[in-house]
Point group: C2
Chain length 240, copies 2
Amino acid sequence: MISLPKRSPPGQSSSALHRQIIQELGSRIVGGRYPAGESLPNEEVLCAELQVSRTALREAVKVLGAKGLLDSRPRIGTSIRPVKAWNMLDADILAWRCRHDQDQGEELLRQLSEVREIIEPNACLLAARNRTPAELADVESAYMAMAASENIQDWVKADLNFHVAVLAASRNQLLIPLSTVISSALEMLLSFSARRASNFKKALPDHGKVLEAIRAQDERGAFASMQKLLSDTRARLTQR
Amino acid sequence: MISLPKRSPPGQSSSALHRQIIQELGSRIVGGRYPAGESLPNEEVLCAELQVSRTALREAVKVLGAKGLLDSRPRIGTSIRPVKAWNMLDADILAWRCRHDQDQGEELLRQLSEVREIIEPNACLLAARNRTPAELADVESAYMAMAASENIQDWVKADLNFHVAVLAASRNQLLIPLSTVISSALEMLLSFSARRASNFKKALPDHGKVLEAIRAQDERGAFASMQKLLSDTRARLTQR
DNA sequence: TCGGTGCAATCATCATACAATAAGTTGAAG
DNA sequence: CTTCAACTTATTGTATGATGATTGCACCGA
């Protein structure tokens, strides 16, 4: 029997407890459980409620503060910052919104798609211009994985890898973090479309054209083919 | 005599010490003082060096971890994550890079400008489509401040407000956080151009056209005028 | 009514102790 | 000699209690 992976994946602060508190509080805040602008319960109460020590709680509060959700001051307490101040591009916040915003989910998905349609064609153009052979190989292998996928989970995973690889190939470090937007958009698309197993490869030819344009270093073609891919996706969604 | 602002501006975790440790460690890491992939000194040593308690140090480390800079594990230590994992859109990280990357500063400025030229024309188009009267007024008052500015500091401040107001008017919550990119770009532009006091208003007419296009809800005009503004800025820079 | 002044609630920081984790070491079995 | 499991130990994770700093708020005097 192979033991489960012992080290947590990189990027997630190792320990469980910490992560749990961040998740719990972050979910509550994004979910609107605490009124925006008002205060959280004080440390003592929250510690009792969550059954953790002040140390653990405070470290979580500090992290949420760095994400723009909280602001704590002596005597005042820890208050929820206005939505305007939240770092909406943060991976965690996006994930919490994806799961909580089921009311305004369509609005969030609209904004996610809007950003994708701005970023990705341009990133794709840059990828065609700047790609190295190694980065082209990454895009290609993601495409291969999409073609070879036999269920929708594998497809989505490979799809995400494809788009991230394109961003990476643009060789612009500031574009790479936007892969969180793409990731969230795909997650929401999944939750909307009733993930029927048939026909999930409908977008494969469009991806193929993107790959070929990047390979040929055809900048305008790369831009156009990515734009087409995204608008087709949008059309397929709105037609339901 | 008016007293200095007593409460730290919102968004900055109140107390100084935290902020100091975060700044100090973040600067060191971004500045390359610790080899990427390798470990920081352990907590005891760092506490002694920075003259702070473990609590304070650990809270800072947790925040830097949330920014993607660090990853700490028992027995292993706290290690610098690969540059690829850094959240380059984070306001702090961008600021640290602006001050430290003097070697590769031009490369950073190039990437910042690239992102601006992708985002801003499209955001401007959306602003023309979606703006409310209030948001239009914000753009306009920033423009007025630019016109009225009498020194380069006031000009830059108003310029930043102008571009942030345009992003806000796009009514896309995911675009607003990108104002950090614009802010950093302007800061770098300042540090490059030798801030001579004359002629700093050269870009005013371009901004006026952007304002008018947004007012008239002329989407294509808004896109084009913002694109022209940015390309003119780039031209003015490279010509030195 | 107004302005200063002290109180007290809350977070900020510190110090210490113990638990959990996992790399490295050791030693025994094959 | 190799292999693998158990032990050791360095490092971070969590808990707890005490003290300092900040500041809204109530109280008090003019």
